[in-house]
Amino acid sequence: MLRPISFLIIAGALFLSSCSTLSVDAEVDTRPASERNYPNGLSVSALSCTGCHTDTAGQGIPSLAGRSADQILASLRFYGQPDTGTTVMHRIARGYTDEQLTALADYFAEQV
């Protein structure tokens, strides 16, 4: 990822050398500051998950590492069903829309 400062220096050098209009938006990191510079652009809504889930599995809480978006989404949808469950994930997943669960699944699948 190109950080703003290095991008600006490169852009400045190009500007001074050619004075031509540049179109380098593919290299501009347009994400909000809170989603830049954290490993792989941590999504803010995923911050609720990382207090429990790491990239190493525990004895009671599974790691999300190495799982596909489809696998993660299937689990989240299972937890989100209205039936009474036994873990905190049943009570948490019900608080998210399917769109939000899909975004979280996509996000965590990209982390590994």
Binding site: F15, S34, G60, I61, T87, R91
Partner: protein, 427 residues
């Protein structure tokens, strides 16, 4: 923020470049602000996490964490130390990882905050300036709010509501007590740090008495009639500690009005109870520096904008963790850690000239009911338009009448949670 002329001319040059490229104005602002100064007060779950995440989001920002203690002693799981299942050493975390992250540690007390000058004064005489201040001051005890309970009384009747020497004092008193003794706990009215904490502690003290001092008994005197995870605790107490634990609610004359530390006596409206070991969990308020900074209201706690975590009372100051008025989010380590991360994201956006954005937040609190069984409560929240709200249909407590396997699984999940959250906060 001060920019020297060299920087200004560079900015103009960059603005010229921007006019012919696709760099947005916010990118320029982001560049200008990357050298901002952020100061964090308090090195607990909130403050340590906030410092690390600010540094991650804005690596060129100067981040200073003000914390007088070189080692942090965690409250979550400290009830297991009191119950005899865990060493206090497992509760301790230092700040070496934060130093490695490039965070400055000011090992001192913050004695004053000037929100107009944007400075923090330390007890070693230094003055730190900031662009944004994040305060995670935790709680302080309202000494004297319960008649007879002052600092000296806490040496005889420990509160153990800040982990460390108080935790060990209570543990040693329990160890020294002869079998057949009476342990008395006093639980305060809400709000207070860790709503289910007194009842987890009661469970683990009763577990200790049942196994080591079976002729002894625990009495909980409560200033409330209801409490967090109440049906789960009552079920566990009936199952595991029917002969060792007696809970008395406010409407059953449970509210403690006064204590006499020398004789370890607790007084309710109509009764006086003499204890062999007394654990008084007293009324609380935000950590003392919050009041001096002017971020507390008449309740003694800190009103905030839930989206940005900015103080409702002072500009450029953000407050997170137990000190805040964040209900329905509870005063928990999970909440403090998550609020720190979301606050860090908001501060990064503000320093970059961007608007703060609402999000969805969750909370999970595990409580041990025996040495190897636990129950939980969870909640899901939104922080739209500056206010917290619960998401309908989500959250709640563990199922009642569940098999031992389910309780044991939650205990293992609790252990994992503790490892993960302390790793996220302290490295």
């Amino acid at each position: 923020m001060a920019l020297d002329t060299n920087m200004l001319s560079r900015r103009k040059l960059l603005a010229a470049i921007a006019s012919v490229t696709l760099i947005s104005a916010s990118d320029l602002k982001a560049f200008a602000q990357t050298r901002a100064k952020v100061v964090v007060i308090g090195g607990g779950f909130g403050g340590a996490t906030a410092a690390r995440f600010i540094k991650s989001y804005l690596p060129n920002t100067s981040v200073t964490l003000i914390e007088p203690n070189p080692v942090f002693t965690a409250c979550p799981f400290s009830n297991l130390v009191i119950g005899g299942q865990r060493s206090i050493a497992d509760q301790k975390f230092d700040y070496r990882s934060l130093v490695g992250d490039g965070i400055e540690i000011a090992q001192a007390f913050a004695t004053d905050v000037d929100s107009q000058a944007r400075t923090v004064t330390l007890d070693n005489g230094s003055i730190l300036s900031y662009d944004r201040l994040i305060m995670s001051p935790g709680i302080s005890i309202r000494w004297g709010a319960l008649e007879g309970y002052d600092r000296a009384a806490a040496e005889l009747m420990p509160h153990a509501w800040k982990a460390g020497t108080q935790t060990l004092l209570l543990r040693r008193q329990l160890e020294a007590m002869e079998d057949g003794g009476t342990v008395v706990m006093s639980a305060p009215a809400a709000p207070f740090r860790c709503p289910p904490g007194p009842y987890e502690r009661a469970s683990l003290i009763a577990n200790y008495l049942k196994t080591e001092k079976p002729a002894s008994k625990l009495i909980i005197l409560d200033s409330k009639d209801t409490f967090s995870k109440m049906p789960l605790f009552q079920e566990a107490w009936a199952e595991h500690y029917p002969d060792h634990l007696d809970w008395r609610g406010a409407s059953n004359d449970g509210r403690v009005n006064r204590v006499t530390a020398e004789t370890k006596t607790l007084y309710t409206d109509f009764d006086e109870i003499r204890a062999d070991v007394a654990n008084v969990i007293p009324p609380q308020k935000a950590g003392e520096i919050a009041e001096r900074a002017g971020v507390t209201d008449v309740t003694g706690w800190c009103p905030i904008n839930a989206t940005s975590f900015e103080s409702s009372l002072q500009p450029n100051i953000h407050v997170i963790g137990d000190a805040t008025i964040a209900n329905p989010m509870p005063k928990s380590a999970f909440s403090a850690n998550l609020q720190a991360k979301v606050c860090a994201a908001s501060v990064a956006r503000l320093l970059s000239g961007e608007d703060v954005l609402p999000t969805t937040l969750a909370n999970t609190c595990y409580s041990f009911i025996t040495s190897d069984r636990a129950v939980s409560i969870a909640g899901v929240y939104r922080n739209d338009d500056g206010a917290f709200s619960s998401v309908d249909g989500a959250g709640g407590i563990s199922p009642l009448a569940a098999d031992a396997e389910i309780r044991e699984a939650e205990a293992r999940q609790a252990e994992d949670w503790f490892r993960t959250i302390t790793s996220e906060a302290f490295g």
